[in-house]
């Protein structure tokens, strides 16, 4: 076991200084539900762990004029208890609450689920569908980028060694907007997505889609946006043609792997089915808000 240091800075600047000044490998700790498993298995051997949870505001949810700011280290349990967020972004909340058991929910954070960079991360597709951004702190100050720009491949992110995610921003919703997330696993609880599908929709007063974002998880090295799926929905009600177009676009966007959870063929088919079902739920939710 190499010499490991642990520091829990109380400011963003101090955290950035520690990360930027680290002589060896440094790891950012929020909930630790992935990091501690990797430490234990020896998959990661950091010299320094920077625990962000003492930074004021890094855990918790703030509403600002209909938009939401979610602190990077906010746990799934806290997200699930925020009624205002659940009301505005039910898909984001249901996805965050699917991660692991009650015990995992008590610690696992939104930033951790993103930066662990698993292709099957449940909270990532609905965040991308929501056009969520994240604020990143680093040695050159802060930058705000779309969530989809963070993960570059399995286990890899675009963050520099001096950088960490500070918070997520979810935009204000137009009227008649809603989202939904569905994942398929071979059992009812406690498993990793075979496929995940997030859909965010906005309708006009007549029930016609004016905006749509479709994102799939676990069917490619990163979560994938499906603009052809959105195009199939926009300008239509959720009719047969729209749904068939969405199914085809979702299947076309898949570049999955074969593994014990599902074959390429199976994942591709399920992606189309889940996209349709998630769109149906999002459409119903949006329609109830007129």
């Amino acid at each position: 076991m190499p010499m490991l240091s642990y520091i829990a800075p109380s400011t963003v600047d101090e955290a950035v200084r520690l990360l930027a000044g680290a002589s060896g490998a440094a790891k950012v700790l929020s909930g630790g539900t992935d990091l501690l498993v990797q430490l234990r298995s020896g998959r990661t051997k950091p010299d320094l762990i920077v625990d962000t949870k003492r930074i004021p505001g890094i855990s918790g949810i703030r509403e600002q004029d209909g938009a939401f700011v979610i602190g990077a280290a906010t746990s799934g349990a806290v997200i699930g208890e925020c009624e205002a967020l659940k009301d505005a972004w039910p898909g984001v909340v249901e996805a965050a609450n699917l991660i692991g058991s009650t015990q995992i929910q008590g610690r696992a954070s939104l930033a951790g689920n993103l930066c662990n960079a698993s292709p099957a991360a449940d909270s990532v597709p609905p965040l991308i569908a929501a056009r969520a951004t994240c604020v990143i702190a680093g040695a050159n100050g802060r930058r705000e980028v779309p969530v989809e720009s963070i993960v570059t491949g399995p286990g890899r992110t675009s963050l520099g060694p001096d950088e960490f995610v500070l918070e997520f921003h979810l935009p204000k919703r137009p009227p008649r907007s809603a989202d939904a997330y569905l994942r398929f696993i071979p059992r009812t609880e406690m498993d990793i997505a075979v496929v995940g599908a997030a859909v965010s929709l906005t309708l006009d007063p007549g029930g016609v889609c004016t905006d749509a974002r479709i994102v799939l998880g676990a069917v490619a090295p990163t979560a994938v946006l499906v603009p052809e799926g959105a195009a199939a929905l926009i300008g239509r009600k959720l009719d047969e043609t729209a749904v068939a177009g969405l199914d085809k676009a979702a299947r076309g966007a898949c570049k999955p792997i074969d593994d014990k959870r599902g074959t390429i063929e199976y994942r591709t088919k399920v992606a189309g089915v889940l996209a349709r079902r998630a769109a149906t739920i999002a459409y119903q939710r949006a329609g109830e808000r007129r």
Partner: protein, 158 residues
């Protein structure tokens, strides 16, 4: 290797310990503080045998560094009975024979108490989902669920 000095509260008692940074809260509870009720099953957050609460929030103590406990209130299985008076959940586990080898029992009890503390009248489905992160390899779950629902009823005075 430098040790960290950690001040915490465990089962209501102010507790201090020294620990190396890579040790988990479970390591310190068991090996340093000799609170061996919390069990090490998987060390990867899958089995729930090490369940404790931190500021009232249910967590796996194997997935938390001991240094992170600084300033927080920890509750373990050792804090559940009042002296020789068992908590109703403990009594109901015995009455319903909701254990065989008992290795998962402390974690199940801590998790079940966390459920009843926030939801005194859970449905069977809610109880099963809440306890999905506590694995039992010998008794099965049915007697556990019966015991938890029976304890909930008693605690409500039903």
């Amino acid at each position: 290797m430098s040790k960290h000095h950690v001040s915490t509260t465990i089962n209501g008692e102010p507790t201090e310990f020294l620990c190396e940074p890579q040790l988990t809260l479970l390591d310190v509870l068991r090996d340093e503080l000799h609170l061996t009720g919390s069990k090490e099953g998987c060390s990867s957050g899958d089995c729930g045998a090490c369940s404790v609460t931190v500021d009232g929030r249910l967590v796996c103590s194997c997935l938390m560094l001991a240094v992170e406990a600084e300033g927080h209130a920890i509750e373990t299985i050792e804090g559940m009975a009042r002296g020789h008076d068992l908590h109703p959940l403990q009594r109901k586990f015995l009455e319903h024979a909701a254990l065989q080898c008992g290795f998962c029992t402390p974690g199940l009890l801590v998790a079940a108490k966390a459920l009843l503390d926030r939801n005194p009248d859970p449905t069977e489905t809610e109880t099963r989902y809440w306890l999905a992160g506590n694995l039992c390899r010998c008794t099965g779950y049915d007697k556990v669920i019966r015991a938890v629902l029976d304890a909930a009823a008693e605690l409500r005075g039903a």
